[in-house]
């Protein structure tokens, strides 16, 4: 029950963050897009991206102190799987113009059919991947 509450609270924070970024700066809180904009910088459009990313890390440092919630991190994938997974996430989010934040949180809120399609697609392939890894192989 407590874990359900924290899922909802975390979601509210994420929703507020995305809403404020649009309200104040007019930008979409799509993290893959924000990050690739730092990798391939355009003059005058890079500093805010770096500030947002520093904030993302800061949130991970501050939240456990403020909310007395532990930072839980368990990662069991082997090295070749980590490298393959990371590469596919990077390539896929650029090719598909976004990730969970940009498509599923912001895009769905804009009622974008592209984002709804992307969300259904990556949910499906992720579920199939986990099913194969955990229950078939």
């Amino acid at each position: 029950m407590e874990s359900i509450m924290w899922s909802l609270i975390g979601g509210l924070f994420i929703g507020l963050a995305a809403t404020f970024l649009l309200l104040f700066n007019g930008r979409i809180a799509g993290i893959s897009g924000i990050l690739s904009g730092v990798m391939f910088p355009v003059k005058g459009d890079t500093f805010w991206r770096a500030a947002f990313i520093v904030g993302l890390l800061g949130g991970g440092l501050i939240a456990p102190l403020v909310f007395q919630r532990p930072f839980v991190f368990e990662m069991q994938a082997s090295l070749p799987v980590i490298i393959t997974g990371g590469f596919l996430v990077g390539l896929g989010t650029r090719m598909g113009s976004g990730c969970t934040s940009g498509h599923s949180v912001c895009g769905i809120a804009r009622f974008s059919w592209r984002s709804i399609t992307a969300t259904v697609t990556f949910m499906l392939t992720a579920i199939i991947t986990v099913a194969l890894v955990r229950h078939v192989f």
């Binding site: 994420i14 404020f20 649009l22 650029r94």
Partner: protein
């Protein structure tokens, strides 16, 4: 050239930092930074954990009405205009990209946000994941034109 109001440069940077902070805090308290938690959500044939759906619901409860209300305001506080994606076509590139992202996400249980916030654990594995992810973003530039 730039979209930022010239007298709001610092405010713009601070807003970006604070929204990033709130976003990272949200990922942390909801445990979305934990790859194992994400994989339990994706594992519908195992001991399914609905957490990610609840996080998305919590976020959409705010963004759906929030974004509609923002539309009524003609410009953001610190910028000249809203910069929104303008593509509407559902093409092969969108589907292929999303499908590849989903496979990577399902393999490890990390997407770009948690991959960044998770760096605070200082676990070597997450730095390796991030480097591989950046390599994937970079590799996109080298795809043949037909794939872009």
């Amino acid at each position: 050239m730039t979209n930022i109001k010239s007298d709001r440069l610092i405010a713009y940077g601070i807003a970006a930092f604070l929204t990033g902070l709130l976003f990272g805090a949200g990922l942390t308290v909801s445990e979305m930074v934990n790859p194992e938690k994400i994989l339990s959500f994706l594992d519908i044939f195992g001991a399914w954990d609905p957490a990610l759906i609840l996080v998305m619901l919590g976020a959409l409860i705010i963004t759906i009405p929030g974004f509609q209300l923002i539309k009524r305001k003609d410009q953001p506080f610190f910028a000249l205009k809203y910069l929104l994606p303008n593509k509407t076509v559902i093409d092969k590139k969108l589907i292929t990209g999303a499908a590849l992202f989903g496979i990577g996400w399902g393999l490890v249980g990390l997407c770009p946000g948690p991959a960044l916030t998770g760096l605070v654990t200082l676990e070597p594995d997450i730095f390796i994941f991030l480097l591989a992810m950046l390599a994937g973003m970079w590799a996109f530039n080298w795809l043949p034109k037909s794939a872009k």
